[in-house]
C-alpha cells in the first residue's frame, strides 16, 4: 500500500490517492467491507424514522468533510440517532453487513477524524443533545454526547460551577467529539485538558454492545480504567453516547494582561519566571510577529507591528489572590524585558486586550485561500527554540507561516497560509511540515497536542511513538474491533 511513508499533503496534491480512498479500495478488494446499499438503507429506515436517514446527494455532500483543510469524501448515508440504544442498533446492523462506520458530532475536527470513507455509514450525534443532570452535591454533570461544549459550561455556570476545557470551537463542537479527540484549549497549563474532566462514559462497542465505563466516584480502582481507553480514541474503538463530567467551583475573579516583547526568548523567560514564582496563570497565549502583523492588518486595534511576540496573560481565582498574582506577573514581565505591559481594569477592558488573540486565527485565515492549522507541541522549555525554527523553515521554503499558541503548555499553532490549487507551493508546505515534525520529535515533543492524529498526522505517528507503542495501539484496535469497521484508517492503517 502506498500509504506508509507519504505525508498526508502528498495525497491531497494527487487526487488519485486520497488516504481514506486508498485504504477503502484495499479493504473492498479484500472483500472485508461493503458500502451502503439500498437494502441497508431500508434496514436503517426501519430502525430510525426515514427523515433521520439521509441518502440524497444534496443531503450527504455536506457530510463529506470536517474542519480539516482539503480532505473530503462522500459517505453512503448519514443517520441521526436520538438515543444510545438507536446508536447501538445502527452499529449492530453495520457490523452484520460489514459496513464501515464513521462517527461525527459537529464536524469541527482539525485532523480529519470524522472525514468519512467513500460509501460508509456516518452516525451523526448532534441530535442527541440532552443535558441530563447537573449534580451540585457530587460536582458532576451528565450529558448526551451531542450537547455543545459551551452549553455544558453555561449549564455549570448557572449554579456557580465551571467546566474548564475550552477548545477554539467550543461554541459548536460537541462534548462527545471533545472526549473522542481529547480536546485541549487555552487553559491547559492550569486546568488540564478534556481527559482530566471525564469521570464516566457510555459507549457502544464495535459489535453493538452498550456499556457504561466509570462513575461519579472520585476514587475508583475497580479494574482497568476502561474509560481512559476511549478518551482520545478518535472513534476507532467505540462510539461515546453519554458522558459524566467533573466540574469545579467557578473562579470568582479574573485579571487580563498584555505584554509586548522584542524577542521570543524574553517572552519565554517571563513565563519560566512566573512559574518559578509559584504562580500558575490560567491563560498564557502568544502571537508571533507574522500573526501580530496579520491581526493589525485585519482588525486595526493599534498594535505595534514590529514586536516579536505578543503575550496575553490571565490569572483567575480568589479576588485578593488574583490582584496579588497579577501585580507579580506584570513586574516579572517588565523585569524580563517586556517592552510594554498593560493590565485591564475590568472585564470590558480585558476583552479589548484579548482581542488580538481572539482575532489571531481569523486574521490569518483570510490572507490566502487555504489555511492549514497545525498543532505540534514541545516541552514548555523548548518553545522559543521551536518558534525560531518554524520561522527559519518559513524563510527557507518561502512560505507564509504565522505561529500563535499556548505558551504555558508548549502547544504551538504554526498556521500555513497557502493555496491548495498551487501544487508546487503545496509541495513546499509538505516539505516544511516534515521538517517541523522532525524538529518537534527531536525536542521531545508530540506531533499533535490537541487536534488528534486522524488522517492528518497518521504518517508521523510511528516516528514519534516507536515500534512498540505503535504496535500496542494496533493490537488494542484489533482486539476491540476485529472487523475494522469503526473509523478504519484513522490514526493508523489496519493490519492486513
Amino acid at each position: 500500500m502506498g500509504v506508509k511513508r507519504m505525508g498526508w499533503l502528498k495525497f491531497m496534491t494527487n487526487n488519485q490517492t486520497q488516504p481514506s480512498l486508498t485504504l477503502y479500495n484495499e479493504l473492498a478488494r479484500m472483500r472485508l467491507v461493503n458500502t451502503v446499499d439500498a437494502n441497508f438503507i431500508q434496514s436503517l429506515q426501519a430502525l430510525l424514522s426515514p427523515e433521520r436517514v439521509l441518502t440524497s446527494v444534496e443531503d450527504i455532500i455536506p457530510y463529506g468533510f470536517d474542519g480539516t483543510a482539503v480532505l473530503k469524501q462522500r459517505p453512503g448515508a448519514v443517520v441521526f440517532p436520538l438515543t444510545s440504544e438507536e446508536v447501538a442498533d445502527c452499529v449492530r446492523l453495520a457490523c452484520k453487513r460489514s459496513v464501515p462506520v464513521v462517527t461525527r458530532g459537529s464536524g469541527t475536527g482539525l485532523s480529519g477524524g470524522s472525514v468519512p470513507l467513500a460509501g460508509c455509514l456516518v452516525i451523526c450525534l448532534v441530535k442527541m443533545d440532552k443535558l441530563i443532570e447537573v449534580d451540585e452535591k457530587n460536582l458532576t454533570l451528565r450529558a448526551q454526547s451531542g450537547v455543545i461544549t459551551k452549553e455544558i459550561d453555561d449549564a455549570a455556570a448557572k449554579v456557580g460551577l465551571f467546566y474548564p476545557p475550552d477548545p477554539g470551537s467550543m461554541k459548536i463542537s460537541t462534548i462527545g467529539g471533545n472526549v473522542a479527540e481529547n480536546s485541549g484549549g487555552l487553559r491547559g497549563l492550569k486546568y488540564g485538558v478534556t481527559r482530566d474532566y471525564v469521570m464516566g462514559l457510555e459507549v457502544v462497542l464495535p459489535d453493538g454492545t452498550l456499556t457504561f465505563l466509570g462513575n461519579k466516584c472520585v476514587k475508583d480502582v475497580a479494574g482497568y480504567s476502561m474509560k481512559d481507553l476511549f478518551i482520545g480514541s478518535e472513534g476507532t474503538l467505540g462510539i461515546i453516547t453519554e458522558v459524566i463530567l467533573k466540574v469545579l467551583p467557578r473562579p470568582k475573579a479574573r485579571k487580563t494582561m498584555l505584554a509586548l516583547y522584542d524577542s521570543m526568548d524574553a517572552a519565554a523567560k517571563t513565563i519560566s519566571a512566573i512559574i518559578a514564582a509559584k504562580i500558575i496563570p490560567c491563560t498564557l497565549e502568544f502571537l508571533d510577529r507574522v500573526t501580530v502583523q496579520c491581526v493589525e492588518d485585519y482588525a486595526k486595534i493599534g498594535l505595534p507591528t514590529d514586536v516579536e511576540a505578543l503575550v496575553l496573560m490571565e490569572t483567575d481565582g480568589h479576588p485578593v489572590v488574583v490582584e496579588e498574582e497579577a501585580a507579580q506577573m506584570m513586574a516579572l514581565a517588565k523585569a524580563n524585558g517586556a517592552r510594554d505591559v498593560r493590565a485591564a481594569a475590568d472585564e470590558a477592558e480585558g476583552a479589548k486586550l484579548a482581542a488580538a488573540r481572539r482575532n489571531a486565527f481569523s486574521a490569518l485565515a483570510r490572507v490566502r485561500p487555504t489555511t492549514i492549522l497545525e498543532d505540534v507541541t514541545v516541552p514548555r522549555s523548548e518553545l522559543a527554540t521551536m518558534v525560531a525554527f518554524i520561522d527559519s523553515v518559513a524563510k527557507k521554503h518561502k512560505l507564509q507561516i504565522g505561529t500563535f499558541g499556548h505558551l504555558g503548555d508548549g502547544n504551538l499553532h504554526p498556521t500555513f497560509l497557502t493555496n491548495e490549487l498551487d501544487h508546487e507551493e503545496m509541495h513546499r508546505v509538505e516539505v516544511a511540515l516534515e521538517e517541523i515534525v522532525e524538529e518537534t520529535i527531536r525536542l521531545g515533543g508530540t506531533v499533535t497536542g490537541e487536534h488528534g492524529v486522524g488522517l492528518a498526522k497518521k504518517a508521523f505517528l510511528k516516528r514519534q511513538l516507536g515500534e512498540g507503542s505503535y504496535e500496542l495501539m494496533r493490537s488494542i484496535k484489533q482486539a476491540l474491533d476485529p472487523q475494522g469497521l469503526l473509523n478504519p484508517g484513522k490514526i493508523f492503517d489496519l493490519r492486513n
Binding site: 443531503d59 455532500i61 455536506p62 468533510f65 470536517d66 441521526f80 481569523s362 485565515a365 485561500p369
Partner: protein, 435 residues
C-alpha cells in the same frame, strides 16, 4: 445550447475561501433549527462548490435549500476566513432561476408581477400604495375581515392578509422637499434614499431622517419618485434587473456634489454598498458605482462619523431595547452606531436585547416564501423582547419593523407595545428641545 453555469464563472477563490471550520453553524438560524449540515452556510457552500466542480447538477433540492436560507448573513460575522457569502448566495439564487428547476406557473407569475413589473416601476408601486391606502382608510379592510371575505382566498394568501403594511397617509415626496437646508450654517451636503416599502409604509421615518440631518447641519437632497434599490431582485436571482435598478439609482443623484448618500433601511443599505461589484463589468457605470459605494452611508454610521449633536431634551420614553437588522449588523457591520444614537438621548436607558442580532424572520420576502420558519424566528424574537421588559423596541429596517410589529400585535399582553426606529427617537428628542 445550455447557458454557462454562473457558479463556474464565479471567481473560484470565493468558494475556496471556506475552510469548513464550522464556526458559522451556531449563528445560522436554519442550522440551529434542523441541525442538518445542508441547512448551514458551510453545507450550502459545499453544494455550490460541488456545482462549480461539476459534481452536482443544479436541482430542485438545491433551489429549495437556497430559498430556505434567510440570507441574514450572520455567517459572515462569524466566519474567520471572511467568506463573501452574500455573493455566493446571490449567485446561487440566480443560478437556480437560470436553470429553471422551479417550474410552476403560479410561482413564475408571482415572481414576474412582483420583480419585473411592480418593483421596476415606482409610479405603479405608489399607485398600488394609494389604492391600498384608500382601502385601509375607508375601513373597507376591517369590514372585509369582519365578513370573513379572506376565507374565500387560498389559505396561504389569507394568512398573509393581516401582514399588509399600513400605508402612510402621505408619501415621502409629499412631506420632504427636493432640497432642504439647515437654517444656520451648513456642514455637509447629502442625498437621501427614500426606499420603496419605507416610502409607502414609513415615510414619517424618512421625514425624521431629514430632520435629524438638518439638525446636524446637513443640506439634504431628495430626488423624486425613487426606484427600488434592487436588493429584492439581487436576493431573488434577478441580477440583470438589479443592475438596471442600480444604474437608475446612480443616475438619480449628482454624485460629485454630494458628500454622502444616506440610507435608513438596513436591508437596502447592505445592497446599495455593493453596486461597485454588481456593475464591475459595466463599462459606463463601473467607475461611478465605485464612487457610489464609497458615498453610501447608513444614517447611524453617518451621524457618528460627523459627531452628531447630543440632544438636550428627552424623547418621552425612559427605556428602549434595540433589535439589529441583519443586513445592518452582519451586512454593513454597523453595530455600535445605532446604540450610540439611542444612548445619546437624555433620560433614555438602552436595555440590551438577548440575541439582538438573530434574524426576526422577515428577511426580505422570506415571511411570504417560508412562512413556517419565519414564524418560528418571530416567536423567538418576541420571547426575547419579553425578557427585556422594555416598553419600546427600536430597529432600523422596514422589514424588521413590520415583522416585529405583527409579532407583538398577535401576542396579547406583551410589555413591548411599540416599534420605532433610532432616528425617530432622536428626531423626537430634537423636537422636544424647542418645546
Amino acid at each position: 445550447m445550455p447557458q454557462a453555469l454562473l457558479l463556474q464563472s464565479l471567481d473560484y477563490s470565493v468558494l475556496q475561501q471556506c475552510m469548513h471550520c464550522g464556526m458559522c453553524l451556531p449563528t445560522c438560524p436554519t442550522y440551529v433549527e434542523t441541525k442538518m449540515e445542508k441547512n448551514s452556510p458551510r453545507g450550502r457552500i459545499a453544494l455550490l462548490r460541488a456545482v462549480a466542480d461539476g459534481d452536482l447538477e443544479v436541482s430542485k433540492a438545491l433551489s429549495d435549500e437556497m430559498y430556505y436560507c434567510l440570507g441574514c448573513l450572520a455567517c459572515q460575522t462569524a466566519c474567520p476566513a471572511g467568506v463573501n457569502y452574500a455573493e455566493l448566495f446571490e449567485t446561487a439564487r440566480a443560478e437556480v432561476e437560470q436553470a429553471n428547476v422551479n417550474d410552476g406557473m403560479q410561482r413564475g407569475f408571482w415572481r414576474w408581477i412582483t420583480l419585473n413589473v411592480i418593483f421596476m416601476h415606482p409610479w405603479l408601486l405608489r399607485l398600488i400604495g394609494r389604492v391600498l391606502r384608500m382601502y385601509q382608510s375607508t375601513g373597507l379592510d376591517k369590514l372585509m375581515r369582519k365578513l370573513r371575505f379572506f376565507g374565500l382566498m387560498p389559505r396561504s394568501l389569507a394568512k398573509l392578509e393581516p401582514q399588509t403594511p399600513q400605508i402612510a397617509a402621505q408619501f415621502s415626496d409629499d412631506i420632504i422637499l427636493p432640497q432642504e437646508s439647515p437654517i444656520a450654517g451648513q456642514g455637509s451636503r447629502v442625498g437621501l434614499l427614500t426606499g420603496c416599502i419605507q416610502d409607502l409604509a414609513f415615510s414619517n421615518i424618512n421625514r425624521d431622517t431629514v430632520d435629524v440631518l438638518i439638525a446636524n447641519g446637513c443640506e439634504v437632497i431628495t430626488p423624486r419618485s425613487q426606484s427600488c434599490c434592487g436588493s429584492l431582485h439581487a436576493h431573488n436571482g434577478e441580477l440583470e434587473l438589479a443592475r438596471e435598478l442600480a444604474r437608475r439609482q446612480i443616475d438619480s443623484f449628482d454624485l460629485d456634489s454630494l458628500d454622502a448618500i444616506i440610507t435608513n433601511a438596513g436591508g437596502c443599505g447592505s445592497h446599495l454598498k455593493t453596486y461597485g461589484h454588481l456593475l464591475h463589468d459595466d463599462p459606463l457605470y463601473a467607475a461611478k458605482a465605485k464612487v457610489w459605494d464609497s458615498k453610501v452611508k447608513d444614517i447611524h454610521e453617518w451621524l457618528v462619523q460627523i459627531r452628531f449633536r447630543k440632544p438636550t431634551a428627552g424623547a418621552g420614553v425612559s427605556e428602549v431595547t434595540y433589535h439589529e437588522s441583519c443586513h445592518l449588523c452582519h451586512g454593513q457591520k454597523v453595530v455600535s452606531q445605532p446604540r450610540q444614537v439611542l444612548a445619546s438621548i437624555p433620560g433614555l436607558v438602552l436595555k440590551e436585547l438577548p440575541e439582538s442580532n438573530w434574524c426576526c424572520g422577515s428577511a426580505g420576502i422570506y415571511n411570504i416564501t417560508q412562512p413556517e420558519q419565519s414564524q418560528k424566528l418571530l416567536d423567538r424574537k418576541v420571547a426575547n423582547l419579553k425578557l427585556t421588559k422594555a416598553p419600546i423596541v427600536a430597529t432600523s429596517n422596514p422589514g424588521c419593523h413590520l415583522q416585529i410589529a405583527n409579532g407583538l400585535r398577535s401576542c396579547g399582553d406583551h410589555p413591548c407595545q411599540e416599534v420605532t426606529q433610532p432616528v425617530t427617537l432622536l428626531a423626537r428628542a430634537y423636537r422636544s428641545e424647542r418645546s
